[in-house]
Symmetry: C2
Subunit: 97 residues, 2 copies
């Protein structure tokens, strides 16, 4: 799936709710997902299936914020992470992202 | 760009560092990016360019966590967000994600 298609799907499914909720509250929902991931990571046994869901939720809410600000996530990713490390120009990165 | 290609790029660029750092510390880096986004959102004037960078970083670190756990992000997104709301089966969603 293209990154752009996923962002458009989020827009189609949730923009009306995201827009009604607004930017600040949408950010709070994103932070909640980070908290849910934290809960899973602090346990002794790693549940990869549940963690998969939380990672998907984090990306979904990040896309919701992008949609509210009319930010193109695919472009943002490509700009920040071109096909090399932007800081040290190396593949793999030698400096730490 | 395909979601899978971006995850592979993150693996190619950063997996050796992510693996050395480990899961818990990689999560802390993700949380730091959330904090940086918070700093931008709390200001009065919204800087879309800087916010774009932080959204990219959040997605990048989320992919790093996925790589450490061998989780396929594209599959995780499709499973959690098929082409409709999974909870209410509607397009757009009527229940809130």
């Amino acid at each position: 799936m293209e990154i752009r298609d996923f962002q458009n799907l989020m827009k189609k499914l949730y923009f009306h709710q995201d827009n009604k909720r607004g930017l600040n509250k949408t950010f709070i929902w994103l932070v909640e997902e980070i908290g849910e991931l934290a809960q899973l990571l602090k346990t002794e046994s790693i549940d990869r299936e549940k963690i998969s869901e939380e990672l998907a939720d984090i990306i979904a809410w990040t896309n919701s914020i992008a949609n509210l600000l009319n930010i193109d996530i695919e472009k943002a990713l490509y700009t920040k992470y071109p096909n090399k490390c932007k800081k040290c120009n190396s593949i793999p990165c030698k400096c730490g992202k």
